[in-house]
């Protein structure tokens, strides 16, 4: 019981620690202590503690990147845990309803053919559109329930992925390269404007999820049981799906498609701290943030150029996942 408390506390503060480490690791050396000074200076400009050339690197380049990575991690992991709860399925991730494929098509179209349309809004609108399509399609069977939603998501994803392939096939190689790079996900374009966009998306999208998180417990018992417990399943599922879709679409539009986080982090946190969504949701959000910051720090320091962070999340996440699975056994999957 006590160790669990400690683990929860550690997960909650981990984004701060990861962020601090990420700020002093980099091609330009800044000492850990001066990071703290610079941050303090930024909060309290009158203190006169530090005013060095390093300030610009930390405040204008590294800090927005770290915060953006953290926000995207929160969005992906927070929506992943939500969708796993309402679909009661461990294989569900934040992209199950077709957002990633939709956003990919938006990006591909924008880079390939519609040069007047910037990539971010295109990715955002196509991401949202794909969720709406998925939902409409599931609705043709009457009341929207779990399985039709997942199936429709799979179908819409497959359809949009095919469309992306067509675009990739048609565009010239230079554009193809930028499409492929965007699809792998990266924070190399981070600035404060993107941080603001992502911040608004995460707060607006995930606030309802955060407030209603305890009800995910009842909803995870299945539609019928949730209804007899007093959940207005239809209404609450729409709220959960809509708000997590909004957060994920915003995240994808600022960072590209970063896989694994929405699937893996909620599982890791559940294995470590238990399935009660009251604590699981905030802890997954914190875990997602620190994992993403950690992965991005590796991505930008591993080689002389920025490796797409999606590759890092998969490479670092998979072995750790296997380890926990072995250690925790089957029951930690909830089967």
């Amino acid at each position: 019981m006590k160790t669990k408390r400690l683990i929860k506390l550690l997960i909650l503060i981990s984004p701060l620690v990861a962020g601090w480490i990420a700020l002093f690791v980099g091609s330009f050396h800044v000492s850990p202590v001066s990071i703290l000074k610079i941050l303090f200076q930024a909060i309290a400009p009158f203190s006169g503690l530090a005013d060095t050339p390093e300030t610009a690197i930390v405040i204008d380049i590294r800090l927005p990147r770290v915060i953006l990575a953290g926000l995207v991690g929160v969005a992906l992991s927070g929506s992943g845990v939500t969708l796993q709860g309402i679909f009661r399925n461990p294989l569900v991730d934040s992209f199950i309803l077709g957002i990633s494929a939709g956003a990919a098509l938006g990006c591909a179209l924008s880079i390939g053919f519609l040069s007047w349309l910037p990539v971010q809004p295109a990715a955002f609108f196509f991401g949202i559109m794909s969720v709406l399509l998925t939902y409409t399609m599931a609705k043709t069977q009457g009341e929207v329930s779990r399985l039709p939603l997942i199936l429709s998501g799979v179908i819409i994803s497959a359809f949009f992925t095919a469309m992306v392939s067509i675009v990739k096939f048609l565009v010239d190689p230079h554009k193809l390269q930028s499409i492929v790079f965007w699809l792998m996900g990266s924070f190399s374009l981070s600035d404060w404007r993107l941080v603001t966009i992502a911040g608004i998306g995460v707060v607006v999208g995930l606030a309802p999820v955060f407030l209603m998180r305890w009800r995910l417990n009842a909803m995870s018992m299945g539609d019928d049981e949730a209804k007899t417990l007093g959940v207005n399943v239809k209404r609450e599922r729409i709220i959960f799906v809509a708000s997590s879709s909004l957060a994920v679409s915003v995240a994808v539009s600022v960072s590209g498609i970063i896989g694994w986080v929405g699937l893996m982090v909620p599982h890791l946190v559940r294995m470590m701290t238990g399935p009660d969504h009251r604590t699981l949701v905030p802890l997954s959000m914190a875990g997602g943030a620190s994992f993403m910051i950690f992965a991005d720090t590796i991505a930008r320091n591993l080689t002389s150029f920025d490796v797409p962070v999606g590759i890092i999340t998969a490479i670092t996440g998979a072995p750790f996942f296997v380890y926990l699975m072995k250690k925790g056994g089957k029951e930690s999957w909830g089967t």
Binding site: E225, G230, G274
Partner: protein
């Protein structure tokens, strides 16, 4: 008192009705058993009462108020369900599972309060599984899990409790233990309890009233000593049945024909 009035139900795109005008009443503080063969409409009846399926005709009344059109959040304050088949998706602890019973009492944007937690604790203690409270309830026995679900329904504090075959997955001892506990609680909290059950012996032993359902209709209703007889049971299950009186109670046996 809960009354089911002239309930009719048939599935979409199906011509054969499942319920053909079911009418009966259940009293508070009494355990009412619903007997019927597989496919007789027991489960459909329960799904109509809990509002999961909408009957084409008829009504469900509680204390005179029609609750047929209640939303789930309102209905859950009147009816609590103890489900039968139950596959927990995540290994919630026993207490976390029981506190889910408070869903209808907790606001949309809130977490359970201290009051809700106390209600859950009380329910866990009342059912006698206090020692299991922090165990994952995927890791306890079938009988214990049934008690967890009963505790959850208790925490829900609804005046009506529906139990869907609470003994069907239990061994002999646990069947008796669970039914004894149910009976105690129903008396003590003056709950209107409705229970489907397969074994007519257990129904006779534990229930205060029996409703027999055959082919979507009520065959007979009354106290066990009135309606549990060879004629009714043979009609209900479609096999030859004999009933013996043993020590003031009744034992129901299938009639074995010599080969």
């Amino acid at each position: 008192m809960m009354a089911v009035e002239d309930l009719h139900f048939s599935h979409r795109q199906s011509l054969t009705p499942v319920l053909k005008g079911v009418t009966f009443a259940a009293e508070p503080g009494k355990l009412t058993a619903v007997l019927g063969a597989n496919g007789s409409g027991k489960t459909t009846l329960f799904r109509c009462i809990t509002g999961l399926w909408k009957p084409q005709k008829g009504d469900i009344r509680f204390k005179g108020n029609s609750i047929g059109d209640y939303r789930h959040s309102d209905r859950a304050r009147i009816i609590a369900l103890v489900p039968q088949e139950h596959e927990p998706p995540f290994p919630y602890s026993v207490l976390e599972a029981v506190i889910m019973g408070r869903t209808a009492h907790v606001g949309l944007f809130s977490n359970p309060s201290r009051h809700d937690r106390r209600k859950a604790e009380e329910a866990v203690e009342r059912v006698g599984i206090g020692h299991l409270r922090s165990r994952p309830y995927t890791k306890i026995s079938g009988g214990e899990r049934q008690l967890v679900l009963i505790a959850r329904a208790l925490a829900q504090e609804s005046p009506v409790m529906l139990l869907d075959e609470p003994t069907s997955h239990l061994d002999f001892k646990n069947q008796i233990l669970v039914l004894r506990k149910i009976k105690e609680i129903v008396k003590e909290k003056s709950v209107t309890a409705l229970m489907t059950i397969h074994d007519p012996n257990l129904a006779t032993l534990f229930s205060d009233s029996v409703v027999m359902i055959n082919d979507g209709c009520v065959l007979s209703q009354g106290a066990p000593h009135e309606v549990v007889n060879e004629h009714n049971l043979s009609g209900l299950y479609g096999i030859d049945v004999c009933v013996f009186a043993v020590n003031g109670s009744r034992v129901i046996m299938p009639r074995m024909h010599p080969q």
